[in-house]
Every structure is written in structure tokens, then in C-alpha cells.
């Protein structure tokens, strides 16, 4: 706790905390027992609900779903980074048209729900003569949305590079493109690494929206299991556990990257870029974007 909300507890406070802990723990245990009883009363622990997860068929379905999820999220991440860089550079351009255009694109795709974007890619683009399928629709939707989000993050990252460096680069005779390519983007991307990894969590979670276009990702594979066995709750628990495990590992990786870059003071002494804290992007999962 960094906040000095309460003192180092004295003997009386310590007793009160102990009493509170006991009451709190008892309340939680009661709640847990109630939920467990409800689950048991409605037969959620029945072995025929859980046994299928030991079967090769079910495991194969889940594994395949997981791979589809990773494939869609991974490809969308690569494409979103590319789109994000283009849009960020566009917004920092000296040409007004380019600035306004990139800004409009970013704002539009950040305002429209991902569900709508995926539906658009799936139903709208074919109307315009562009063939899409479930997989490409999910990837397009994820790319447009996350590309716009990343564009804003990159822009902040580029702005966070100390001005002196840019001036120095110009003074040794580099042109604008070279400054961007050699000085700004490499540093911005480096600062962004933890953010990019955290964005992967958002992408992974959002790829579950593939279900609206029947893309057989992890959640839809889970649905195939529970519609067959009738074990919604056990399947939801198993699938949730898979998502949580992967997302927590990604978050741990993001934290590790941040720590590795960290040693904050040393970095600042070297005059390297740091992210402005108000972006609030250090927390895994961003600001709760997406579904």
C-alpha cells in the first residue's frame, strides 16, 4: 500500500482487524458455501458434466479453438501495430489534410463498437465487392479498432521523446523522415513494448466476438461442447480458466518488460523516452476497452 490511509495498526486496531478478518472470512465462506450448494443442488458437479473434458475429442475442440483465437489475435496485433504506426505518423504530419484524415479515422473506429465493425466486415464489405469470411472479418474488425487505439498510444510515445533529441538530430543534418525513422519510432516502440503486450490481452478477449460470425475460436468451441453435453456452467468455467491463464501470463510478460526497461531514474538520466502516466495504459487490459 502506497497510501497512508491508516496507521501502522496498534494493539487495539490489530485486534479490530483480526475481528474484521474473522467476520469477513466467515462471510466469504458462507457466500462460497451458498454458491457451492446452489451448484450442487442444480447438479453442476455431476460427473457426466465434467468427464467430457477428459476426452480426446473435447480436448481437441478446445485446442483447436485456442489456436484459432491465438491466430486471429496474433495476426490482428501485427496488422494493428502497422496501422497504428501509419495513423500516428499521419496525425503528426505537417500536412493538414493528412492530419485531419488520420484523426477522423482514429476517432471513427474508436467510437464504433467492435461488434459493428466485425458485422460490417462480414456483411458490408461483400456488398462493396470485397470478399470476407469469418476469420478475415474478425481480423479486420480487431485491426481497425486496435490500430486506432495503438495510434493514440504511439502518438503519445513519440511526443514523449525528449525534444532535445529531435533538435540534435536535425542539427546533425537529418531530414524529417530520417528523424522519424531513426530517432522517434525506435524509441517510441521500445517504450510501447509493455503496452503492446497488454494490448494483446484486449485482443485475445475481443476475439471472442468471433462467435457472431461463427468463427470457431475458443469461446465458440466451448459453445459446441456445452450445446452437445448441456453443461454450460462447467464449460464456461473451463473456458474462462483458459482465457485467464493466458491473459495473466501476458500481463506478467508485460510487467517483466516494463521492469526490464525500468530502473526509471537511470533511464531518465540517459534521456530516454517515458510514457506519460495519464494515458493509463500501464495497466494490463487497458482502460477496459473492448469486450
Amino acid at each position: 500500500m502506497t497510501v497512508a490511509l491508516y496507521d501502522e495498526p496498534g494493539p487495539r486496531a490489530r485486534r479490530r482487524i483480526l475481528v474484521g478478518s474473522v467476520i469477513g472470512a466467515a462471510a466469504l465462506l458462507l457466500l462460497g458455501a451458498y454458491v457451492a450448494k446452489r451448484l450442487d443442488d442444480t447438479g453442476q458437479f455431476r460427473s457426466e458434466y465434467w468427464a467430457p473434458f477428459g476426452g480426446a475429442g473435447v480436448q481437441r475442440i478446445l485446442l483447436r479453438g485456442l489456436l484459432a483465437t491465438l491466430r486471429a489475435a496474433g495476426l490482428a496485433l501485427v496488422l494493428a501495430i502497422a496501422l497504428g504506426v501509419v495513423l500516428a505518423v499521419g496525425r503528426l504530419s505537417e500536412r493538414r489534410v493528412l492530419r485531419i484524415l488520420s484523426g477522423a479515422v482514429v476517432e471513427l473506429f474508436r467510437a464504433v463498437p467492435l461488434v459493428t465493425l466485425i458485422l460490417f466486415a462480414f456483411i458490408g464489405l461483400p456488398e462493396l465487392g470485397i470478399d470476407t469470411g469469418p476469420y478475415s472479418s474478425v481480423v479486420i474488425g480487431l485491426t481497425l479498432y486496435n490500430g486506432s487505439v495503438l495510434a493514440e498510444i504511439f502518438r503519445a510515445g513519440i511526443n514523449a521523446v525528449p525534444r532535445g533529441q529531435v533538435e540534435a538530430a536535425y542539427s546533425i543534418g537529418l531530414r524529417k523522415a530520417a528523424v522519424l525513422r531513426l530517432v522517434l519510432i525506435p524509441q517510441a516502440v521500445r517504450t510501447m513494448m509493455p503496452v503492446i503486450v497488454s494490448q494483446m490481452v484486449v485482443l485475445l478477449k475481443d476475439s471472442a466476438l468471433g462467435f457472431i460470425v461463427a468463427f470457431p475460436e475458443l469461446l465458440r468451441s466451448g459453445r459446441r461442447i456445452y450445446t452437445n453435453v448441456g453443461n454450460v456452467i462447467p464449460t464456461a468455467i473451463v473456458v474462462a480458466a483458459i482465457y485467464i491463464t493466458i491473459n495473466l501470463s501476458l500481463s506478467a510478460m508485460a510487467n517483466w518488460l516494463e521492469r526490464r526497461q525500468g530502473g526509471g531514474r537511470r533511464r531518465r538520466d540517459r534521456g530516454e523516452a517515458r510514457l506519460p502516466p495519464e494515458l493509463g495504459v500501464g495497466v494490463p487490459g487497458g482502460t477496459g476497452s473492448g469486450a
Binding site: 495476426l75 469470411g133 516502440v189 521500445r190 513494448m193 461463427a214
Partner: protein, 303 residues
């Protein structure tokens, strides 16, 4: 590279994803199926000469066909957990078509479709044909073409086994009636029975799930689909099919609009199956298992 340690980290992180780029154009991650394992004898693969440039020639040349089917309709098109292949009457029809195109069973790719995306799948080429309890109607004919019908069903109601309040569509006032999003049944409930409260999910299995949980009062779709659920051992004694059909649902094979040669070919396949008995044996091996007798096959409509 060594001058940019962090850049290298980035590259190392992204490299594993590079293979994804090459997988970009591959859209149908549906459970491809190589046939086999079915109890039904495989239809004999025939090699015919097709006119150059026709869809049949193209498919025969490629040796594969992508068929959109349902994955969750017992008896018609469903996949069990431990198997890789869908089974059912629609699937058998698909195999008949493939055989007449000279496509080996392992060249058939089944792709899951839901009611709401069948037209889209045909239009954008995700599948070559749709055989998925697909009712022929004029609205759909504006965007896709149909061969067949190869079966005529009728809209009916599935209710709880001990529910005596619903005995036909006229008892639906104030009841929650579930059907699949984008299906004919849901629109018919909306327009013809405005007193009922429509409920929609992606698939009928989800509707049945909600009926089992007492969240809704009835599931409405084609009698033959409902019979499949009622006969499913998993739901033994839970449901009853009301038995009052209130529509005619001719099932057709959906294909890209304007491909008249292909449509004629598909109609020939259906009629051929009527004549040589393969239609009836396909029916008996699938829907027949739930106790339904094969009806007289409907007349093919070559519009």
C-alpha cells in the same frame, strides 16, 4: 542487430506471429471433414465430362467442394463431440452431390453455417453450396438460387412435455417463442402471431437449452428439426412436438445467383437420387432413426 537490443526483443516477440501472415487468405477454419466412418455406404464417385468453364468443371478440377451445413441439428446436420464429421440427412445430400461431381469423399469440406449467414456465405464464396435446412422462398431467391426442393417440412412447435396450454400456433398469445436469428420461423412468428413474444438466439440448440431451463415457453421451427430434438436421448421425456404445422418449408440447395447450369445439374442430382433409391436410404439412415418414415419425395421445381 546488436546495436538495437530492444528492437531485437520486439522482433523476437513478433516473429512467432509471422507465420500467421501466410495463413491470411485461409478463411474457412470450419472443421474440414474427410468422410469415412459413416454407417451409410459412400455414394459411388462418378467421373463425368462437364462443359468447360462451368462450376461443375471447376469443382471437379479442384477435387474439392465446400458445403455449408448446420452443426447442431440432430438428424439433419450435427457433429458429435468425439467425431470430426457432421452427420445427418443434409450431409448425405451433400455427399451425393460431391459424388456426382467426381469428388472423392475426402475432398468434401463441411463448413458450419447458422441461419443468419447462409446467404452471405454463398455470396462471398465461403461455400460452394448450402445444404442446411434451407427453405426456398422468394426473398432469398433475390440474392441466391435454389435447386430442389429435396424435402418439405412445416413449421411446428416444441413445448415442455407437461405443458398443456400450447396446442397450436393460436395458443401463443403472451408466450415466449424462440427461433434462430435470421430464420423464416422467427419472422413468421413476428408477422403472423404478433401476440407472442419472439425470442431469438443464433442456434436452435440454444433455444432448446432455454426451454429446458423454463426461460421460454416454446421453440418453433420445422417439424423435422423439432422431432430430432424430441427424440434425442439427452432430452428423453422432456419435450413434445405439438404436431400442428402452420407452414410449408421446401428445403433447397442454395447456390450462387445466376449459375443456371449448376442449378440444373443439382436438380438432376436430386432427381437421380429419387430414382435410384439413394434419397430414401439416406433418409432412413438419418432422420428415419428417430422413427420417422420416409415420405414421398417432393417434386423438383426447375424455375
Amino acid at each position: 542487430m546488436t546495436r538495437h537490443p530492444r528492437l531485437r526483443t520486439l522482433l523476437c516477440l513478433l516473429l512467432p506471429f509471422a507465420f500467421l501472415l501466410s495463413a491470411c487468405g485461409d478463411d474457412d477454419e470450419g472443421l474440414d471433414s474427410n468422410s469415412g466412418g459413416s454407417t451409410e455406404p459412400e455414394p459411388e464417385v462418378e467421373q463425368t465430362e462437364f462443359p468447360e468453364g462451368s462450376t461443375m468443371a471447376r469443382l471437379q478440377e479442384a477435387g474439392t467442394i465446400k458445403i455449408g451445413v448446420k452443426y447442431d441439428q440432430p438428424g439433419l446436420g450435427s457433429v458429435s463431440l468425439e467425431s470430426e464429421e457432421p452427420e445427418g440427412f443434409d450431409i448425405e445430400m451433400g455427399k451425393l452431390v460431391a459424388a456426382k461431381l467426381g469428388i472423392e469423399p475426402d475432398g468434401i469440406q463441411f463448413v458450419e453455417t447458422v441461419s443468419a449467414n447462409r446467404e452471405t456465405f454463398i455470396e462471398n464464396g465461403t461455400v460452394d453450396v448450402v445444404i442446411a435446412t434451407y427453405t426456398i422462398n422468394d426473398e432469398r431467391k433475390q440474392v441466391v438460387d435454389f435447386a430442389g426442393p429435396y424435402y418439405v417440412a412445416g413449421q411446428d412447435l416444441l413445448v415442455g412435455a407437461d405443458d398443456e396450454t400450447i396446442n397450436g400456433p393460436d395458443d401463443l398469445a403472451g408466450k415466449r417463442v424462440c427461433a434462430a436469428s435470421g430464420s423464416t420461423p422467427i419472422e413468421r412468428i413476428r408477422t403472423d402471431y404478433p401476440e407472442a413474444e419472439p425470442v431469438e438466439f443464433d442456434t436452435y440448440t440454444e433455444c432448446v437449452d432455454q426451454l429446458l431451463a423454463d426461460q421460454i415457453d416454446a421453440v418453433s421451427t420445422d417439424d423435422i428439426i423439432l422431432a430430432g430434438y424430441a427424440a434425442d436421448p439427452k432430452y428423453e421425456g422432456e419435450f413434445r412436438v405439438v404436431g400442428e404445422t402452420f407452414s410449408e418449408e421446401p428445403y433447397g440447395i442454395g447456390l450462387k445467383k445466376g449459375d443456371d447450369d449448376f442449378r440444373t445439374f443439382l436438380n438432376d442430382v436430386i432427381e437421380g437420387a429419387y430414382e435410384d433409391g439413394s434419397w430414401e436410404s439416406a433418409f432412413d439412415a438419418t432422420l428415419g432413426a428417430s422413427g420417422v418414415e420416409a415420405p414421398e419425395p417432393p417434386e423438383v421445381d426447375r424455375y
